[in-house]
Assembly symmetry: C2
Homo-oligomer: 208 residues x 2
């Protein structure tokens, strides 16, 4: 099993621009990547990125870690890796609420294709055990991936998880990280910058 | 095991007022309640509501169904039921993406208290096997329920599910129902009123 984590360090998380400047968003994205790596089991991990990245991987416990620079599109980069592997997991880098229990449950699913949905029809985690499978990460990828598995005659399991469904893209997602992420590197990043949760009728966050 | 589903028919889902008038919101809330009932196993189901409701329960397959009118607050009504039962599940009525597989997994958890989080710190499903437990459904109820279990020395399990995390309260939740709810009564309610999903970079829904 190989674990692939795509990562883009240039102008990431632009929908958070009202709250964090570009340098902060880069560091926030890196802290989420480290949280994702922290949640992974002791397997081969490949960070796939379009350009070289400057991250101190000593901060994470995972040892079997490599960075692969691939300038092609996300789909092309991932599909060429699927060609080479009998069993490959593609995990998004903005899932800071992942933990080992969730990830173990995911890896223990036995279908040819396992798809973990995010909000808005996205695919947050994907496990592929057939090299004919192709990814297509835009415009409702969750449904495209389920459909593709069926068309290829592959067994497909939908992985049902709240924690893996939270990809941090917009302000409402920050609230979930602040609520559920205590102790995570990305949670600490936000707390250090003054983010706090206040429970009104619904909770809101603010920046001190 | 008794299943309790709190339901309020008066001016429900007010955050959807821009899209649905009050009569539509009442019918939409009822259709979600029926979807929740459809997902339940063959156990005793109690609909708890502050005033009498007009619902055609023949539309659902569940047979062992009663309506209890309790004018007190949600917390008081539920807590008095917890007093009487060794094993009780409280399931919110606005979780149309529940299905039998998710619910079975939930009921099979073995802790004294099982809590399924919703977005914004809410508690969407709760399983209580100790009559000392008290619910408190506002201002971050998920964290209050986890804390209360610990303070009472009860074992507590967090139930990790995307489908049970989607309580339909606001417009962004409608999108999730439209995306994942095909065939549900509440999904059909929206489709019949012209709601459609369009995949742009992110999917949006519109009303024809």
């Amino acid at each position: 099993m190989k674990i692939v984590i795509p990562f883009k360090a240039r102008n990431p998380k632009s929908r958070l621009s009202n709250l964090l400047n570009e340098e902060e968003r880069v560091n926030f994205a890196k802290s989420m990547l480290l949280d994702v790596i922290d949640a992974m089991p002791d397997m081969e991990i490949l960070i796939v990125t379009p350009e070289s990245i400057d991250i101190d991987f000593d901060k994470v416990t995972a040892k079997n870690l490599r960075v692969l620079i691939d300038e092609r599109s996300l789909d092309d980069a991932v599909n060429s890796l699927i060609d080479e592997e009998k069993e490959i997991a593609i995990i998004m880098s903005d899932l800071p609420l992942l933990n080992r229990e969730v990830v173990d449950r995911f890896f223990n699913e036995e279908a040819d294709v396992v798809v973990a949905p995010g909000r808005k029809g996205g695919t947050n985690m994907l496990l592929v055990r057939n090299s004919k499978f192709r990814v297509s990460y835009h415009y409702g990828s969750f449904f495209k991936h389920v459909k593709m598995a069926k068309e290829l005659g592959l067994s497909c399991k939908i992985f049902d998880s709240f924690y893996s469904s939270i990809d941090v893209d917009e302000e409402s997602d920050l609230l979930e990280l602040l609520l559920h992420g205590e102790g995570k590197k990305s949670w600490k990043f936000l707390i250090d910058r003054g983010f706090r949760v206040e429970f009104k009728k619904d909770p809101v966050f603010y920046k001190e």
